[in-house]
């Protein structure tokens, strides 16, 4: 990067954050039952990904998401991958994300994960690893979108001097995908649980940018297995696709959680009848479970008959005898993850535990081997982060890449780079503190 532009970016850090505060870039957190909104701190010096690295990532991400979509189709239809012994039965059916209510449902174009958020890290050796696949409601795309918009205004020279891939096409990618699966059945809507959802800012921002209607619970009704959006004066418009930001179990009180007020009563029948597309599909949790993660490279081989391009972090499943023994013998140098938890919760580093706590953890693994996975600690490439005075320190960081699948599968040449809240932390989830950077994908 040219020196002039890096200086400009460094100098812009406070004004960019002020702009974003004014735009309302924030996320909500529940702590001890109290809801409050936090700003998401932005570090103005971007992460840079070379064209060579990006070409590799793009190919690998497309391949991975295609295989995951094929897996989801298979699980809710023929279950060949189980019959062929590639994925053990209990990993699928004991998963909380598996929804038998979705058996036999045919989502439009056979797409389940329309929007996939794949979390990656770069090792010190330059090797990228996938840490997690998020196939339910991956959030976070709005932050780099708005950060880029603001930085372009504040430091236009940084973009004139450097060949950065334009990332202002995310809303178009979303819109195109929503139309692909809509098949001219009606309008496209984004369903938000409302103002007190942690990602409400994102829901309203994406609705504005895609031109889709922002719908609140109660705005959508089902009559004769067709979904309608009911406007202010009770006029009804047919809905063809719903980008829903409400989780599976709250989507239809007639099918799932009966007390849910966030969902659309009867939407499952409309969906099953093929009258509406749900983005993402219901039941995707069975494919982004931490236990299933282990099998994703095997899925690539199985469905696409290709070598997996992207690598998983080295992972062990206590379910297999060999891995079980390895984990118990090496627990103090491994990361142990609870399969059922998400958002950076339920992650334990063996090297941070006292001998007593290690024994407790071993006992848990022995009693419930299916509940845990263990991974080698990856030596991340740290990124430099500046505080408001401009002093730098090194932090752990990851990258959430967004992959959008409609008629075709496309990777957004951008992503959300999140960094840990302090130099000693390995956890980079936004609900655990920390901030984000813009991600520059270089054109040459």
């Amino acid at each position: 990067m040219a020196d002039v532009s890096i200086n400009a970016l460094v100098d812009s850090r406070n004004s960019v954050n002020k702009w974003m505060e004014r735009f309302g870039v924030r996320f909500g957190v529940y702590k001890k039952g109290v809801f409050r909104e936090q700003l998401f701190p932005f570090d103005s010096v971007p992460r840079i990904i070379s064209k060579k690295d990006w070409d590799y990532l793009e190919k690998g991400l497309r391949q991975r998401v295609q295989a995951l979509n094929m897996f989801l189709w298979d699980i809710y239809h023929d279950k060949k991958i189980i019959a062929d012994g590639v994925v053990p039965t209990e990993f699928v059916y004991a998963s909380k994300g598996y929804m038998p209510e979705c058996e036999g449902i045919d989502p439009t174009l056979k797409v389940y994960a329309h929007i996939a958020g794949i979390d990656l890290v770069e090792g010190k050796n330059g090797q990228w690893y996938v840490l997690e696949d998020n196939l339910r409601i991956p959030s976070g795309a709005s932050y780099p979108m708005i950060a880029r918009t603001v930085t372009r205004k504040v430091t236009p020279e940084a973009f004139a001097d450097n060949a950065v891939a334009d990332n202002r096409d995310y809303a178009d990618m979303l819109r195109q995908m929503m139309e692909d699966v809509n098949e001219d059945r009606g309008i496209a809507v984004i369903l938000t649980p409302g103002r007190y959802n942690s990602a409400f800012f994102e829901h309203s921002y994406l609705a504005e940018k895609t031109g889709a209607t922002l719908a609140y619970p109660g705005d959508l009704i089902v009559e004769d297995n067709i979904v309608y959006y009911e406007g202010l004066y009770h006029e009804k418009q047919r809905v063809g696709s719903i980008y829903r930001r409400v989780s599976d179990e709250y989507m239809d009180p007639l099918t799932f959680e009966p007390e849910s007020l966030l969902g659309i009563p009867g939407v499952m029948e409309a969906y099953k009848a093929g009258n509406v597309a749900l983005i993402n599909a219901i039941g995707n949790g069975v494919a982004d479970d931490k236990g299933i993660y282990y099998f994703v490279p095997k899925m690539v081989k199985y469905y696409l008959n290709e070598e997996p391009i992207l690598q998983n972090a080295p992972t062990y499943l206590p379910y297999y005898k060999e891995d079980y023994d390895y984990i118990l013998a090496n627990i103090e140098k491994l990361v142990i993850k609870d399969v059922a938890e998400a958002g950076g919760y339920g992650v334990v580093f063996g090297n941070e535990l006292t001998p007593e706590k290690l024994e407790e953890l071993k006992a848990l693994i022995i009693s419930e081997p299916r509940r845990w996975i263990a991974q080698e600690v990856i030596d991340f490439k740290d990124l430099e982060v500046l505080d408001s005075e401009g002093n730098g320190s090194m932090r752990k960081a990851d990258l959430r890449a967004f992959v959008v699948s409609g008629k075709e599968t496309r990777v957004w040449a951008s992503g959300l780079t999140r960094y840990a809240s302090n130099p000693n932390s390995f956890v980079v989830n936004s609900s655990q503190g920390g901030g984000f950077k813009d991600t520059w994908v270089m054109n040459k």
């Binding site: 038998p100 209510e101 449902i105 089902v222 004769d224 297995n225 007639l254 009966p258």
Partner: protein
Amino acid sequence: MKRYLYSYQTIVRFYVQVDRHFLKLRCQPSASEYQTIVDESVVLHPVGFHISIGTDGFGNRIITGSSLIPHDSLAYISSGIVEQTDYAIPDPSPQPYYRCHSALTEPSDELRLMAKEHKQAADLCHAVYEAMHYEPGSTDVRTTAAEAFAQRKGVCQDFAHILLSLLRLNGYAARYVNGLIVGEGATHAWVEVHDGENWIAFDPTHNCQVTHGYIKLAHGRDANDCPVCRGSMSGSNISQQTEIKVIVNEI
């Protein structure tokens, strides 16, 4: 071959008008090798409901309805005639999820211990009957097998959940069944277990293997999957009173 006349009637009265009402009913008999539907009808009030029919993910027949017209009562009658042979429903490959525990059948340590004492479905059924005391009002629709077993009392739904938990601990594919029986004022619950070829049925509340006379409506992993009626309504201050009548007679 035996024939039964059945009728299932529900009246729900709302003290304050309901503005919108969405519902899903599983009130019709299921059709299988065990049970043939000779004649049937479903009548729903208020008449203005938009109705669709279909099947759910477990293969049950469902009726979904929606009404945007304010009303202060909901009533329906499902009635007809079914013909039954011995209770055995052939299924060469039962869905694997019937072998896994579901939310309401998750076992506790004492259920795990009990599961080790018997292997045969009939023995497990008997053990549940012996251990449990039937007591209406001692549990509700959200009570799990482990909770009901801990207090050693419950109703037919709890007996069924406990038996399901024990069967699954022993590796059986087993499912929850909702239906109607002679002499019961409401719906009844029992259990189907896969014997390698067929689904056969046990009723832990009455300590028997089911042969016929049980009108099957719907099945699922547990009671959550197959309630007779589930509704979602909006309006202010909704409170309601429900009245259910069931008649089953051999003809």
